[in-house]
């Protein structure tokens, strides 16, 4: 049986939606621009296939790192962030996919007086290009390049951490990714550089480590590393995921101060990601995941879950006899 699956994978231009594992960057309860990332795994949609659906994610924390000091804050209690929104992936060709995501975010603090925010966060677009696919030994190695762009899709307030819905910057990202699959076992590693634009806030001056007389805030760039390994079968995908986000610059929250969008936000998360594509309903994909923050700086020690429901539409002339795993 494993052999059969293996063959199926080796032949493909794969056609499925089975990917969408979410890594949500919950920064002190709000989230950083990259949210639902279908762009960080090694699976491609086939030509003329469009996978679309709804993603939900929720996370919360009651401890956070003030600089490097882990603390709780009785005036925030538990900070929770819930996101829901459309997400999809279009197979322009079997080697080039366009992916989008547009979450609606709602934040809340269980204690204290501050009211949470809600609103549409960032529109993210990725072009994912499978550049190389090569047989190496008994497995297959694939190399990908993924370019991303995201921008705020509403005039939300970034300077209200930890309860703002996003950080407000426009981001360009470039990711290199390598995937190795042998039978049903896979490992995927990627590195990303994220160029972040400056943001504008509602006040005419602000203090970081010095006074600034401007409503513009310099946003340091960021880097991300992601490693995922696990089982990639016909109906099920189950992976363990480790993810690190490092802000290349920025400053620490000072003692008992409020966080600020240009803080040095770092975090390492560990999680599980699964996808289920039942054989008896063609085109349906269910995804789920959970993760927890194991290390961080100027971010909440959050734990989160993700769930999504997707369906694959076939726009090709041919009969949609098979959408995936051809």
């Amino acid at each position: 049986m494993f052999l059969k699956i293996k063959q199926a994978y080796q032949q493909k231009p794969i056609a499925f939606c089975r990917k969408i594992k979410l890594i949500i960057y919950l920064f002190l309860g709000s989230s950083v621009p990259l949210s639902a990332q279908t762009d960080i795994d090694a699976i491609m949609m086939g030509k003329n296939l469009f996978c679309a659906g709804v993603m939900y994610s929720g996370s919360n924390w009651n401890e956070y790192w003030e600089g490097t000091l882990k603390r709780e804050n009785l005036n925030l209690g538990t900070v929770s962030t819930n996101m829901i929104g459309p997400m999809g992936s279009l197979g322009i060709s079997s080697k080039l996919n366009l992916i989008f995501n547009l979450p609606y975010v709602k934040t809340n603090a269980s204690a204290g007086q501050l009211k949470g925010f809600k609103g549409v966060q960032d529109l993210s677009l990725w072009l994912k290009w499978k550049a190389v696919k090569k047989q190496i030994g008994k497995g297959t190695m694939s190399l990908f390049t993924i370019g991303g762009y995201s921008l705020p899709a509403s005039d939300y307030v970034a300077d209200y951490l930890p309860l703002s819905v996003g950080l407000g910057s426009r981001n360009i990202s470039l990711r290199g990714m390598a995937d190795y699959q042998r039978g049903v076992w896979t490992a995927t590693v990627s590195g990303t550089y994220v160029r972040r634009s400056n943001i504008e806030i509602d006040r005419p001056s602000y203090y970081t480590t010095e006074m600034h007389y401007s409503n513009k805030v310099y946003m340091p760039d960021a880097a991300q590393f992601n490693l995922r390994m696990g089982y990639r079968g016909k109906e099920w995908v189950l992976e363990a995921v480790a993810d690190n986000w490092t802000t290349l610059g920025g400053f620490d929250i000072t003692r008992n101060n409020m966080p600020f969008p240009s803080n040095k936000m770092n975090m390492t998360k560990m999680g599980l990601s699964m996808k289920y594509e039942p054989a008896y309903i063609k085109g349906l994909t269910l995804i789920g995941g959970a993760n927890t923050t194991v290390a961080g700086r100027n971010v909440g020690k959050s734990t989160g879950i993700q769930a999504g429901l997707f369906y694959i539409f076939n726009f090709s002339e041919k009969t949609p006899e098979k959408t995936q795993n051809r």
Binding site: G147, V157, Y160, L174, D202, S205, M211, Y213, S214, N257
Partner: protein, 518 residues
């Protein structure tokens, strides 16, 4: 096109990177060299604030231009100018905007840095910053709005008095500028028609440094570094020789010491409301209950002692303590049991539950909370922005900021007097459905600090810059309303606060009309 993107993603990425340069220039860097339209050479005749007369502090006469030591000082300037670096040029450019302005900016920076409420210790009590141990947590000071208002006022008033004295001695000694004494000296700032002994910039340095020792004792290294830069900038610029700087600085320090004495006895030390280890916090609560009212209760967790309950008893600059109680203290706010109160509470609930982007913008523009230069600092920034284009003399800068900051400090006093006289609850205490759009301050509601500060500031600024009167008044109204939009104040807190602030501002106008500067 598709091919381009797929084949050259890295090229595209680099292209996009280069398209978005992230550098930007901050507003205060652009401030031009101070070049006064009117030099206010008669500033020595203006009425000082805390000095009895302009000549109260003695400044010894300078050495003659013919003395060898003077020549040596001229040569020092030439030496500096010969080996000038780009950093030196930047320094000269920065300080040429005016000492009063730059030291005001430094103050705002220090206030923002220190405006952080201490975190509770393991037992759940809040430690109190200690002036004698400022570098140990909790850092001294916690520069909250009353503390900040007082700090701005003392430094500004001392700078003004130091300048009145300096301008007085300038006309007494009539020492001409180094670049007139030696035509080979380049002048890197605008040439002043004032006599140059003692240096007005040095008087500002002396006054600022000495007072900041008291107000921000943990920042000596930073303050001395700034002072050293300022001195150096004046010498390199060829604006002053060294003995002019030394005389000016000694004068400034002596003036500041008079203010330090005042500060030590202005009752700020007792403002925490703790005498001999016993606090009055419970007393305030029972006082309100005895009047049949709902007392304010801290909504911080754990409960934090109210901010500076006796700040209302601090000695004001523009009027006496009795005036605070008899002429400015407002009537009581609507009782929590009254219909009027219920209506006001409903309005706050409405703004809590129905934020618009525009209102949130206003709330945040005027938030000026934790980690900021506070509302008094914001009004200093506004004043500076509108004074820069007027090309004022250094002494007029000092006078205007002294009037502004005395108004702001006295506004803090009258506002805190009202807050702790009535000790009334915040809206979110009375109605837990009310959540706020900005940090909830840890003191009673009536009257609004933002409104009182803004009413006072707008009133005196409208007098000083009449062509901008409407603008300042609109700003004050917006700052005041921002607190209702933020769901942390009732309308009466804001309206009465603005009125109180205007009363304070009018006292400042009275002074301005009689200080000899018109």
């Amino acid at each position: 096109m598709k091919q381009f993107f797929t084949r050259y993603p890295i090229a595209v990425f680099i292209l996009l990177l280069s398209a978005c340069n992230k550098d930007f220039i901050e507003q205060n860097v652009l401030t031009p060299t101070l070049n006064p339209t009117i030099n206010d050479a008669n500033g020595g005749n203006w009425v000082p604030i805390h000095l009895s007369t302009a000549s109260e502090i003695t400044v010894l006469p300078p050495i003659a231009k013919t003395a060898p030591d003077y020549t040596a000082q001229i040569n020092e300037i030439k030496g500096w100018q010969k080996n000038m670096s780009d950093d030196d040029r930047k320094l000269v450019k920065y300080w040429s905007a005016g000492g009063v302005l730059r030291w005001n900016e430094i103050m705002r920076e220090l206030v923002a840095k220190y405006n952080l409420p201490p975190v509770q210790d393991v037992s759940g009590t809040y430690p109190i910053p200690n002036a004698n141990n400022p570098l140990a947590y909790p850092f001294f000071p916690f520069s909250n709005p009353p503390y900040a208002a007082r700090a701005y006022a003392y430094v500004s008033a001392a700078q003004y008095d130091a300048l009145v004295a300096a301008y007085h001695y300038k006309t007494v000694y009539k020492r001409e500028a180094p670049y007139l004494a030696d035509l080979n000296i380049n002048v890197l700032v605008s040439k002043s028609s004032l006599y140059s002994y003692p240096s007005e910039d040095a008087a500002v340095i002396g006054a600022s440094v000495e007072l900041l020792k008291l107000l921000f004792p943990g920042e000596q290294a930073y303050i001395q570094k700034k002072a050293e830069e300022h001195r150096r900038a004046r010498l390199i610029a060829g604006a002053n020789v060294r003995d002019e700087m030394e005389a000016g600085e000694a004068l400034g320090r002596a003036v500041a010491l008079k203010y330090v004495q005042r500060a030590r006895t202005d009752r700020t030390g007792a403002a925490l409301g703790i005498t001999n280890g016993v606090d009055i916090w419970k007393e305030l609560e029972t006082g309100a209950i005895q009047k049949g009212e709902t007392p304010w209760i801290s909504q911080d967790s754990p409960r934090r002692p109210p901010m500076l309950p006796y700040f209302g008893r601090v000695r004001p600059f523009l009027f006496d303590e009795l005036t605070v109680v008899t002429k400015i203290r407002p009537p009581a706010p609507p009782s929590v049991k009254s219909e009027a109160f219920k209506k006001e509470l409903e309005e706050v609930l409405y703004f809590s539950q129905n934020p618009t982007r525009e209102r949130v913008k206003i709330v945040h523009r005027w938030g000026d909370g934790v980690g900021t230069y506070t509302p008094p600092g914001h009004w200093n920034a506004i004043a500076a922005e509108h004074m820069i284009p007027l090309n004022l003399s250094e002494i007029r800068w000092a006078r205007n900021l002294a009037l502004l900051n005395m108004s702001l400090m006295d506004a803090a006093i009258v506002c805190w007097d009202a807050k702790y006289t009535y000790y009334n609850p915040r809206p979110s205490q009375v109605d837990p459905k009310i959540k706020t759009h900005t940090g909830l301050p840890n003191f009673p509601a009536y009257t609004s600090g933002h409104s009182t500060f803004s009413g006072a500031a707008a009133t005196i600024l409208a007098h000083l810059i009449p062509e901008k009167a409407n603008l300042f008044n609109d700003m004050a109204l917006e700052a005041s309303m921002s607190r209702i939009y933020g769901a942390i104040h009732y309308r009466s807190d804001c309206e009465v606060g603005l009125e109180m602030g205007k009363k304070v501002g009018n006292y400042a106008i009275q002074r301005a009309q009689n200080d000899g500067a018109n």
